[in-house]
Structures are given as structure tokens and as C-alpha cells.
């Protein structure tokens, strides 16, 4: 247990030291979202219509940007090898690393979401639905994303391949999240969609760590 805490503390300290690099997915997130009014026009009605979808697509793309960094440095300098050679269980260590990654690069996106709801003129209930779907859905992004990152960490041009692998898998999450926010805009109940996202999240929380551990072992040449 102490070893897992040590991993978490180390990853958070590392993220703090490279915070300039951490800012980039956040700036990308705001930039992509502020492009849409310039493209589609500033009328609040149209912006509100496309708002949920735009925010969610932007969230998925910027989390993809940040995912690459999850195992890359540790793989290149050999710390991942030493981690695999320690008696701490690899799935637990992988889960802790995904948690550290979620805290450092995806949580800031959620903290920014009120500003973006402002940019796209989302109404109050829509914003709360968006926040709930983000809080439940983005850990799912990190967990499944980490599996693909574990598989492609050995290849040096894994970037586009990562998007290719992950985007199809994220489609159900995108569908349920945007439909939750839309039904919130019409003052309808959206707890069904939330329940489905929650189920997907718990399912991946249970299985993904083992898949990540296996993926890391596979990518050891």
C-alpha cells in the first residue's frame, strides 16, 4: 500500500514539475471550443443546440492528447521496467497511475467546463447535466485509454494509432453523455443515461487495470 501511495505522490510531483506541458491539453480544449462560434456563428440558440456535443468531442480529443504522456516517460527511462520488477501488483500500480493522470490532466478540463458552458450559452440545468456526465465519463476515458496507451507505448509513432483505436470505443459514451445534456435542456429526467455511463465506468474500473497490466507486459520487447 505504501508503494502505491509512493507512485501517486511521485506522479503528482512529476506532473507539477512539467506543468507547462500539462497546460497544453487545457489550452487545446478552450481553443477548440471557441472555434465553433467563429465557424457556426454567435447566435445563442444554435450554440446551445450544438453545445453538449462540441464540449464532449473536445473533451475526448484533449484527453487523447494527454493520454500519450501516461507511460511514455516511464517506458523510455526504464522506470516502468523497475515497476514491473517490484513486488507491488502491476494492475494496482496501473490503476494508481491512471488516477494520477486523471487528476493532473483531465480534472482541470472539468474545472474549466463552467467557462465553456458560458462560451456556448448553455443553460443552468444543462451545465449541471454536463458536469455530472463529465465527472462520470472522463475516468472511463482514462481507463480505456490507458489500455491502448499500454499497447502502443513500445511503438514510437503511436499517436494517430491511439486515436484510431480509442475513438470507436468512446462512441457509446459520447452518445449517452450528449443525450443526457440535451434532455436536461428540455427539463427532462436524464438519470437513465447517467446510470448507463456509471455502469460502463464501473465495468471498466473492474477490468481495465488487468488489461493495462497485460498490455504493459506485452509491449515489453
Amino acid at each position: 500500500m505504501a508503494a502505491l501511495m509512493a507512485i501517486l505522490k511521485r506522479d503528482l510531483a512529476l506532473a507539477y514539475r512539467q506543468r507547462a506541458e500539462l497546460m497544453q491539453p487545457m489550452l487545446f480544449f478552450i481553443l477548440v471550443i471557441s472555434l465553433f462560434p467563429l465557424g457556426v456563428g454567435p447566435e445563442p440558440k444554435t450554440l446551445q443546440l450544438i453545445g453538449p456535443g462540441v464540449i464532449w468531442v473536445a473533451a475526448i480529443l484533449s484527453s487523447l492528447l494527454g493520454l500519450e504522456r501516461l507511460f511514455r516517460d516511464d517506458f523510455e527511462d526504464g522506470s516502468l521496467e523497475q515497476l514491473m520488477l517490484s513486488s507491488t501488483s502491476l494492475p494496482a500500480a496501473a490503476l494508481v497511475k491512471v488516477l494520477a493522470h486523471w487528476l493532473t490532466s483531465i480534472l482541470p478540463l472539468i474545472v474549466l467546463s463552467p467557462l465553456l458552458a458560458l462560451f456556448l450559452h448553455l443553460s443552468e440545468p444543462m451545465y449541471w447535466a454536463l458536469l455530472k456526465t463529465l465527472l462520470l465519463g472522463t475516468p472511463l476515458l482514462s481507463l480505456i485509454g490507458a489500455i491502448a496507451v499500454g499497447l502502443t507505448v513500445g511503438l514510437n509513432r503511436g499517436g494517430v494509432l491511439l486515436a484510431l483505436l480509442l475513438l470507436p470505443v468512446f462512441i457509446p459514451l459520447l452518445i449517452f453523455a450528449t443525450s443526457a445534456v440535451e434532455s436536461a435542456s428540455m427539463q427532462l429526467q436524464y438519470s437513465a443515461q447517467l446510470a448507463i455511463i456509471g455502469a460502463m465506468f464501473l465495468f471498466s474500473l473492474a477490468l481495465a487495470p488487468f488489461a493495462i497490466a497485460y498490455a504493459l507486459r506485452v509491449s515489453q520487447t
Binding site: E21, P37, L38, H121
Partner: protein, 252 residues
């Protein structure tokens, strides 16, 4: 050419020049900005159309004007650095960038706060606010590019190129956003810029602009010293300076 400027390319002299000017700039700046803000807030007459909401102008216009001029100054010092290989101008550029970003951020907040009573929403895709937002992204782009490099010399040159590219694009962005805005919405009723104002409203505005310029100048001097110290951290004059200032602190 510009012979009298060359000694200042030598960093140690620039450092001591900044040290001499710093107290003057900071005290004067503080005084002028406080005086002007107080004058604008308390003594200037209320506006017949927006009553007292217009007083935000005493913060919004200086920061908006300053954000553009700081970007231009940054781009000019980047240009000097790239063309004449003057290292101190790269340092000046990187000293200016965070101040410009902060001032643009302030102009955005004050613009949004002023827009709320006028348009009813905190954020309105008005032409002026949108180009200020894009300007903020240009600033943040230059800063994050500078931070991405290990070696500061290389970082300065790369950020300098981006600053020059940015300055070329600034007017293009400005007019395309204006055109985009009129295309969709027609000119907004309230021109956010400098409406023709009676003298007793105008004087506090000019003074607050001056106040902002001096305060930003003071912060620039301080950040310039930081950039010099960062680049010359191994030099003997920096070591002597550090020892002298540490004995000074113990002495106090």
C-alpha cells in the same frame, strides 16, 4: 548604427539600469493608477445612458489598449532579437509576454463584466471581445513555446519567431472578426470602444491609461531582471550580487 544602444546589450549594465529605475516606476505607477481609478470611480460624473456601469471603462480600456501595444512591443523586441541577434531583446520579449497575457485576461474579464448589464449574458461573441480572446491565445502560445525548450537561447529564438508571426496575423484576425461579427449580428448598439466623452470623463481615462503603463513598466523591469539572472546564473557578477544581497538581508 544605434551605437549608444549597444552598451545596454551587455546584460550587467541593463540589470543595474533596471535596478535604478525600479523604485521610481513602481511608486509613481502605484500613485498614478490609484489616483486615476479613484478619480474615475468617485468624481467623474455618471453617464446619462448607463449611469455608473460605464466606470468599468477606467479599467477595461487601459487594459485593452495595453494588451495590443504590449503585443506590438513584444513582437518588435523579438524582431530586433532575430535580426540583430541582440540577446537582451529576447529577454525583454519574454519579460513582456506574461504581462501582456495578464493584461489581455483583465480586459476580457472587465469586458465580460461590462457586457453583463448591457447584453444580459456574461459572455457575448462581440467582435472586440473575440479578438481579445484570440490575442490571449497568441500570448499563451508564445509563453508555452518558450517553456517547452530546455535551452533558453533556443527557446528565445523560437518564441521570437512566433511573436513576429503573431504580429503579422493580428490585423488580419482583427478585421476578419469584425467582418464575421457584422455578417451575423449587425453592429452592436453599444460601441465598446472610446465613445466621444466629455472632458471630465476623459481626463481620468487618460490618467488611468498612464497609470497602467507605468505599473506594467515596473513589472517589466522586475521580470527583465529575472530573465537576466536566469540566463547569467553562473556568471561571477550574479554570484557577487547574490552574496551582497544576502548579507544585506541579514544586515536588516
Amino acid at each position: 548604427m544605434w551605437k549608444w544602444l549597444h552598451p545596454y546589450a551587455k546584460t550587467e549594465r541593463t540589470y543595474h539600469l533596471c535596478q535604478k529605475l525600479l523604485p521610481w516606476f513602481s511608486l509613481l505607477g502605484l500613485a498614478v493608477i490609484l489616483f486615476a481609478s479613484f478619480w474615475g470611480l468617485a468624481f467623474a460624473p455618471a453617464d446619462y445612458q448607463q449611469s455608473d456601469a460605464y466606470r468599468i471603462i477606467y479599467v477595461h480600456v487601459p487594459s485593452a489598449v495595453l494588451s495590443k501595444s504590449l503585443y506590438i512591443t513584444m513582437a518588435v523586441s523579438a524582431f530586433i532579437g532575430l535580426v540583430w541577434q541582440v540577446k537582451t531583446s529576447f529577454m525583454a520579449m519574454m519579460a513582456l509576454a506574461p504581462i501582456g497575457a495578464m493584461v489581455t485576461f483583465v480586459s476580457l474579464i472587465t469586458g465580460a463584466a461590462w457586457g453583463k448589464p448591457m447584453w444580459g449574458t456574461w459572455w457575448e461573441w462581440d467582435a472586440r471581445l473575440t479578438s481579445q480572446l484570440i490575442l490571449l491565445f497568441l500570448f499563451l502560445g508564445v509563453i508555452s513555446l518558450y517553456k517547452a525548450f530546455e535551452d533558453k537561447q533556443q527557446a528565445g529564438k523560437a518564441a521570437g519567431v512566433m511573436a513576429v508571426v503573431g504580429i503579422i496575423n493580428l490585423p488580419i484576425i482583427h478585421y476578419s472578426v469584425e467582418w464575421w461579427n457584422t455578417l451575423h449580428q449587425g453592429a452592436t448598439i453599444l460601441k465598446l470602444g472610446k465613445p466621444s466623452m466629455p472632458a471630465e470623463m476623459l481626463w481620468p481615462l487618460l490618467l488611468s491609461i498612464l497609470g497602467w503603463v507605468i505599473v506594467c513598466g515596473a513589472i517589466f523591469l522586475l521580470r527583465m531582471q529575472n530573465e537576466i539572472l536566469q540566463r547569467e546564473i553562473r556568471r561571477p557578477w550574479v554570484v557577487a550580487l547574490a552574496n551582497k544581497s544576502s548579507t544585506l538581508n541579514e544586515g536588516k
